[in-house]
Amino acid sequence: MSATESVRAAMTPSVPESLSASVPGTTDNAPGDDAGLLLPVPDEDGAPFWDHAARGELRVQSCSDCDELRFPPRPCCPHCQSFASHWRRMSGRGRIWSYVLPHPPLLPAYAALPGYNAIVVELAEAPRIRLVGNLVAAPDAPLNSVGPARLRIGAPVKAVFAKLPGGVTVPRWLLERP
């Protein structure tokens, strides 16, 4: 095993058991599931993100050699080609970079949430790392719980975590100044 590989073995979690076996795919949502929203279908590179989210931590993949963050996660660092990586914890603070208000035609579970938003958040520590998410009034509040008039590019937000009926935890975003 090379030095790089051993670093990787030590620092990169394998596919977390909480996700590798039992997480339903987006098409496996049982009829009658709470909102019937799509669940993330993690791949091998992305699985650690969701595993950390399940523990209430927002973490982004970081190169273990050159320290550059990268998102979405991938096997190799585009800056130095190292295969060694770990997951760096973020403060969870950021700003709204952009947003949309999707209207029908939509998948039924989303059409049932009129006025819902989808936002892109740029992270405070790394503005070029941006996460797609939803602005909500409380961690477990629905995706349309914040009025569209409150959405504004540049608004400071903070990450919270919501456990979905399928057992998957996803980040959500609250306004810093509600």
């Binding site: 987006t26 979405p72 952009s98 999707p102 998948l107 790392i129 995706l143």
Partner: protein, 383 residues
Amino acid sequence: MGATLKDATAIAGIGQTPFAKHLPESEKTLACRAIVAALDDAGIAPSEVDAFASYTMEETDEVEIAKAIGAGDVTHFSKVGYGGGGSCATVAHLAAAVATGQASVGVAWRSRKRGSGPRPWKNTRVQLPTPGQWTRPFGLLRPADEIGLLARRYMHEYGATRDHLFNVALACRNRANQNPAAIMYERPLTREMYMTARWISEPLCLFDNCLETDGALACVVVSAERARDCRQRPVYVHSAAQGLPAQHHGMVNYWNDDPLTGPAWTAARHLWKGADLGPQDVDVAQIYDAFTPLIPLSLEGYGFCGRGEGAAFTEGGALEIGGRLPLNTGGGGLSEAYVHGFNLITEGVKQLRGTSTAQVPDAATCLVTAGEGVPTSALLLRS
């Protein structure tokens, strides 16, 4: 320096089916009709066809098409990925094959029942795990939502308004109103209709979105020398390019340093490098218009104006006939038909033959682009 693509090949024939919300025939039948019509337009026998190119999303394949139309032995076939980003690359691949002697008569085609068939985004089973896991659970479901996010940011950064997007929608609709083959031939658009239309993904309304169409198109690519002996005036492939920028993420391009400089910028650098002409020499443009914001983004990328100036470029009737850059003169994906941009290629050919229903006087150079916001491609055609 090896062989150059410049003017080595030409589009010698074009063909299309009617466009409609619903056509009764299958995609395979429609594809064959468009291809046979294109070969007839060129005056080339199907048995001479030895190359094919299409999109990876094309449901009809070379084996089925070749045996149906009666093609000969085929020595080059390719499919290009990334949906509408592949349109111009189908012609580019054939041009490269013909220019380097891999084949002599190439057919590019696209047949799609998008009007009466399913919406791709509704099938959650086929979504890719990456990057879908980062977007779809949050309700970013459709291409309109994905581009809507970039559009909102673009409007915020540069002061672009809905009126700028309306300028794009209106120019396409006005040209469709001149084109009897266009879905929107008899349906004029007004500013009031636009401003009061229902939202699809705010800030994008109904008229910022392309049509959903059944139809098929094809074109025939041969050497420049051969084209001069064909039935129609040759339309030369002066330059061609594909573009996949460094650290690009597809339509959800939110994860690089500068999401608003998309694949158009990459394709454009290569396109102009291989050309004797520049943006100032383009008489008419067919720019991929699945969504209106792709036009200002593409105008910037292909060098018709500076960064952030694409919206302002659309002012004062610039995109209309007689304007600075007449746009999508058949009506485009917004108002003629949405067949993954292939109708933009055939319309470019019509302009350079002088046979468009909205002819730009003496048009000699036409830019055709494929989908911006995904790995893309472009052609610079000249007469």
